[in-house]
């Protein structure tokens, strides 16, 4: 970068050459955040992410509502992954309130959670397509995800904000003939996403834009504490569905997808492979699910807690491990709720990866971190 500069640039001193660029919040390639980058010619020399444009104080609000009424607003950080984002909170609340979950509800939860993971990943993939200027890759995932949204709509009644998980189970039982419809849609969906390889993942333009950009080595992925697909793309085999199975994941056969490269291409491919795994899990869960039975342990409107307690529960969401730390002081409202979200944990990798990268690669590196700003800001 320093050795052979073009003639015009060589005349200037380094400090004069460096330019500060604001990317966002009004920018097609930034989402709901601002990234301040300093560039020298075409190369990024420093990057300072500035999140917080959607900081809505969820954690403070949770202290004023009881364990049930917290549900709707705690799922808002990621409305298209709303089952997964509620999952750790619901697991924690169950432990604090001391309730058992019926067996069938656990399977319904697994199905809903996997469907949501696909819905989330499809949206993410669609936006990734836009960021790379590949409009077919916006249209295909955005259209196919409606199939699964239909299923979730049948199951819970809402398009994206389901509020389906409650402490004690799920809100409603599955509608009639849901299993058949689900199996049909999921099979078709799996067939569809396999076609993405031809148009996207084997596309030489995509490969040349994402291969070997933003390489995160295995040591750094561990040191920076990244999670989810970013971690697995760097060669660390870590998935909470296997390592710390919750609900009925123990009884299901779950595989992880690990890639060694750690570049943007690997980071964009791992979630896609995970979607196929989700289809497998849904099929298994549909098979093993008890055919009847209750799906919810009913609670009083203002449930009593067992006493002071702290719990930390975590699940594997679409963006990686999602932890919820609840401190209860024995009242009906939680004393403190903290969501430790995957997006926020992956954000630290952004300044690290962008250093020395070309400015044109910024969108592809940024969005490959599986980052959803609303979730990171909470």
């Amino acid at each position: 970068m320093t050795a052979e500069l073009p003639p015009g640039l060589a005349l200037q001193k380094v400090d004069e050459r460096i330019m500060t660029l604001n990317v966002g919040p009004q920018h097609p390639g930034s989402g709901h955040m601002r990234i301040v980058v300093q560039i020298d010619g075409d190369y990024i020399v420093a990057c300072d992410p500035d999140p917080g444009y959607v900081h809505r104080g969820e954690e403070k609000m949770a202290e004023y509502r009881n364990y049930i009424t917290n549900i709707p607003h705690l799922e808002r950080p990621v409305i298209h992954d709303s089952c997964n984002v509620l999952y750790p909170y619901v697991l924690g609340a169950e432990e604090i309130l001391g309730i058992e979950v019926p067996e069938r509800a656990k399977y319904v939860r697994v199905i809903a959670s996997e469907l949501n993971r696909c819905i989330y990943t499809q949206y993410w993939l669609a936006i990734y397509g836009i960021f790379l200027g590949h409009s077919t890759m916006f249209m295909w995932p955005a259209g196919d995800r409606e199939l699964l949204i239909d299923l979730m709509e049948k199951m819970s009644g809402a398009r994206v904000t389901h509020a389906h998980f409650v402490p004690g189970g799920v809100r409603n039982d599955l509608p009639a003939n849901f299993e058949d419809a689900c199996l049909r849609q999921v099979n078709y969906f799996e067939k569809r996403i396999k076609e993405y390889a031809a148009v996207f993942y084997d596309n030489p333009i995509l490969i040349s834009r994402t291969k070997d950009t933003g390489v995160l080595s295995k040591q750094d992925a561990i040191r920076l504490g990244t999670t989810g697909s970013v971690l697995r793309a760097s060669g660390v085999d870590y998935d909470l569905r296997i390592k710390e199975p919750y609900d009925v994941y123990e009884e299901l056969d779950v595989h992880t997808n690990v890639m060694k490269e750690g570049d943007s291409y690997a980071r964009s491919k791992v979630p896609w492979l995970d979607m196929m795994e989700s289809c497998n899990i849904i099929r298994q869960a549909l098979q093993k699910m008890p055919k009847s039975g209750s799906v919810r342990t009913k609670l009083k409107p203002n449930p009593k807690t067992k006493g002071p307690e702290t719990v930390y529960k975590r699940v594997e969401s679409g963006r990686g491990s999602l932890g919820c730390y609840i401190v209860s002081d024995g009242k009906t409202e939680p004393y403190r709720v903290k969501m430790s979200v995957g997006s926020f944990r992956n954000l630290i990798a952004l300044p690290y990866l962008l250093k020395g990268e070309k400015l044109g690669n910024m969108p592809s590196v940024y969005w490959s971190l599986n980052y959803w700003p609303v979730e990171a800001d909470r």
Binding site: P25, H32, R56, G57, M61, H73, A142, V160, T161
Partner: protein, 174 residues
């Protein structure tokens, strides 16, 4: 006779008067044509503010395909846009930026407030960092309620805005 009337001193006044008369005469058809052009080019600024942007994105997906109405086409520069769709919560950090974006847009510009949060604060009515609706920041033309509004609702809101523009005085902005 005209020569007597128009002296070098009052030439400007006279031409201005003539323009007014001319404009009055063809206002109706001209205004209609201008408005007709405007309603089919409602291009939004690319500013996402919160979770409603998921449904905003879904509105351009193949199932809803809002671009068939000639509206809400994803577009780059705000200098060429004439619509702000406020996609949800406006936090205290975002509000000055939203105003800045609005101020930089050329006239005419329209605003759709999408989602309960943009209308009243919605779920976050008691949060410390959320504005109770965006009316205090920018003027709103159409409110689209819902949390989040379904894409159909957003399309309906846009069609309402088109109806509204049709009845507006085009001359105000000429």
């Amino acid at each position: 006779m005209l020569k007597d009337l128009v002296t070098p001193e009052n030439a400007n006044v006279f031409v201005g008067k003539l323009g007014d008369i001319l404009e009055k005469a063809i206002d109706k058809p001209l205004g209609y044509a201008i408005n007709w052009g405007r309603i089919w080019s409602l291009w939004p600024v690319h500013i996402e503010t919160a979770c409603c942007s998921v449904e905003f994105g879904a509105a351009s997906s193949p199932r809803y395909d809002v671009e068939r109405f000639g509206i809400i086409e994803a577009f780059g520069s705000l200098r060429q846009c004439d619509l702000v769709v406020v996609q949800g919560t406006i936090t205290r950090k975002m509000a000055p930026r939203l105003r800045l974006v609005y101020d930089q847009m050329p006239e005419p510009k329209y605003v759709i407030a999408m989602g309960a949060c943009a209308i009243t604060g919605g779920l976050y009515f008691d949060s410390y960092n959320v504005l109770p609706g965006i009316d205090g920041v920018i003027p709103v033309d159409v409110y689209v309620p819902g949390c989040p509004p379904r894409p159909e609702t957003l399309i309906q809101g846009c069609i309402l805005l088109q109806e509204k523009i049709k009845r507006m005085k085009a001359r105000k902005f000429v």
